[in-house]
Structure formats: C-alpha cells, structure tokens
Symmetry: C2
C-alpha cells in the first residue's frame, strides 16, 4: 500500500499524482525491487534494472515513486505494515498477555529469516535515511513499540509482568530483538534460532541475576 512517509530530501520536482494508481503496477515495481535487493543489495541498484525486471518503463516508475530513496522508504513501510499485521494476529488472541509477547518474538524471527538479506540491508540503511517522520529506523522502532505497548500494559495490569515504564520496556524489547537478530544473522554458524529465542526469553524474562 502507498505510504505517507517520505524521504526528507525530495529527489525531484513534485510529480503530478496519478488519478487512479494501479496497485498491480506498483506491486510489480516493488516485487522487482525486492528480488533485486535480495540478489545484489540496494546501493548499486539502478532504476533501469528495476523497470527491466518488472517489464515496465522508466516513465512508469516515476509515476509511482520519486526515486530510489522514495522506493526504499515505501518498501520499508510495506514490510513494516506486513510485520505489524502478523504481530496483531498474535497480539489479538485471548491467551495470556505474556504468552502473546513471546509468540510475537517468534513471528518476528520468522520475518527476519524470510527476509534475511533485505533485513540486513534495512538495518544498514535505515539509520541514515531521514524521512518526513524523522530517522527511518526511529520510525520503525516507534511503530513496533506502539504495537507492543497495549499488550505490555495489559500484562503489567494483570500482574503477569513487572510494572516498569511501558514505553521504555517496549523500546527495550524491540531494540534488543533487532540487535540480537542482526547479530544472529551475521553469525548463523554459531547459534541456532532456538538458542537465540531461548536466550532472549531468559534474558528478558528473568535478567542476569543468579
């Protein structure tokens, strides 16, 4: 879906908006870009290659995106929305709140594994990319933290979890999960996914005190 979030620095003069953008055309462009990012990364990717892969013209590309940075922000926004939808499906059940939070971690690790290369490139680029909503990484952290917040508050209210500052707790869980998932992807030979998840569960559940 089209995103309201934009690179902070416009890439070209404002384009005329399409009266009736075609979701299938946009999807062909984002799919082609996603595949090419998996194959060769983003920094060397050219708009010409994306449209060739999609079987479309450069002119069509610029009807849908202002340029490469705008496309990247849109991709991150799409993936963030996809992950958020999957998280909500878990967070919205009637199981104990703490259990839903741990299930959310598994959904997150599924997502990281499915999108391994894109995920690493996202981690690489999102901290530098300034958008209309601030740093792209700050925005994605905020989206995921906001998503987690009501479940955390519920867990705290029901005594399933310590009463700590809910916003800091959400940031801690989201930040820690992304950092350790990145470390894991970069050291797949050292840890299985099960070991990683078990570590995160113990560390965040019970801490380091003996």
């Amino acid at each position: 879906m089209p995103s309201h979030i934009k690179p902070a620095q416009p890439e070209r003069r404002p384009r005329r908006k399409l009266q009736t953008p075609n979701p299938e055309v946009r999807e062909r462009l984002t799919s082609a870009a996603t595949q090419l990012i998996r194959e060769k990364g983003f920094p060397n990717l050219r708009v010409e290659e994306i449209v060739e892969q999609a079987g479309l013209s450069v002119g069509t590309f610029y009807l849908y995106f202002d340029g490469k940075a705008d496309l990247f922000v849109n991709l991150v926004s799409d993936f963030t929305e996809d992950l958020r939808t999957r998280m909500r499906a878990v967070y919205g059940t009637d199981r104990p709140a703490v259990q839903r939070i741990w299930e959310g971690l598994e959904v997150y690790l599924d997502f990281v594994e499915e999108n391994e290369k894109g995920f690493l490139y996202f981690v690489d680029a999102a901290d530098t990319m300034m958008t209309s909503e601030g740093r792209l990484s700050t925005w994605t952290f905020r989206v995921h933290a906001e998503n987690l917040l009501p479940v955390l508050k519920e867990a705290m209210d029901r005594g399933e979890m310590k009463k700590l500052d809910p916003e800091l707790t959400a940031q801690a869980l989201v930040g820690l999960s992304q950092h350790l998932a990145t470390y894991w992807i970069e050291h797949r030979e050292r840890y299985t996914r099960r070991q990683l998840a078990a570590f995160i569960n113990t560390f965040t559940g019970f801490g380091l005190a003996p």
Copy 2:
C-alpha cells in the same frame, strides 16, 4: 591515535605515508572536525571547512587522511578507544564483577552525554559505513562486547550472574545500552538519566517476570 581500520572503498589513490606524522597536527584536524560535527553535523561538512578551522592546508589534510570517510572512521576509532580506556579503568578494579558492569553503564552514559551530537551522528552513519573490518557499527559493537566479555565470564564463574552464553549476553548488554541511550537522547524531556539507568539495571538484572 592512528587507526588500522579503513573505509572499504578507498577514496583516492594510495597516498605516500608520512615518514614522521606529527600527532599534534593530526589532533588539530580531528579536534576541528569534532567541533564542526557538533555544530553542523557531518553530512554537509567539507574538508575545506575542517582545514580552515584547524588553520592548516588542504594538502596537509590529505597527508593525514584519505578523505572524509577515512576521517570519520578515524574519529569513531578514536572515540571508541577513549571509551574503551575509560571502561577498562572501571572493569579492572577488584570490586565484585557485577558492580563493575553497572559502573561501566554509568561510564557509558557519561560518554553519551558528553558527546551527545556526535553520538547521534555516529548511530546514524555507522550502520551504513562499510570498513575493512565490516560494518562500522558491527565493529564498535564487537570492540565493546569483547571488552565486557571477561568481566561477564568472571561474574558467571563466581555465581554473581546467571550462566548464559557470554557472547550473546555481551551483545545484549551493549546493543540494549546503545538503543536505549539513543532513545533517551531523542526524548530527553521524558526521562532523566537516573530513570534510564534504573530501568536498565532492573530490566537486565531481573527481567520482566513479576
């Protein structure tokens, strides 16, 4: 001090090494750059401004650095070394290992406060910058995790801390501290430093279980 770590993509043809580099000249260049980064950030900074601030010539700059990226990697390396030295002073005492680890957190937060603007720019840029040692941020995380590792192992061996995978534990503490310090700097109006440190201590010490 000169760094062995280099940007992955050389910025110019290899320069003739100075036979006897002058540490004072290098210091004038890095101090000028640090001050300018605090004032206006790094992306728009030009080599010409650095040498003007330092009262030196462009030619002299290129005797010491290959370009802006090389300068940035050198600055990060200097600051990392500074932080590491300060951490070692705390880690090397004979107080209980767990206490040394919490004291290390205070040293880290001192450092973040002193270098607030440079710290945020580092977080912005370090994930994208590829160096001879991999991603710059991966390198700094590794340096700090390696520094922390012996103290963690000591705490685990002495029963002052749960026996978990020491490498993952080090990454968890270093990654969590940087993420929450960034969040704190971006939301200074919401949390005092004392609140942040107390949260990190409780979360990492005892976890979220009630």
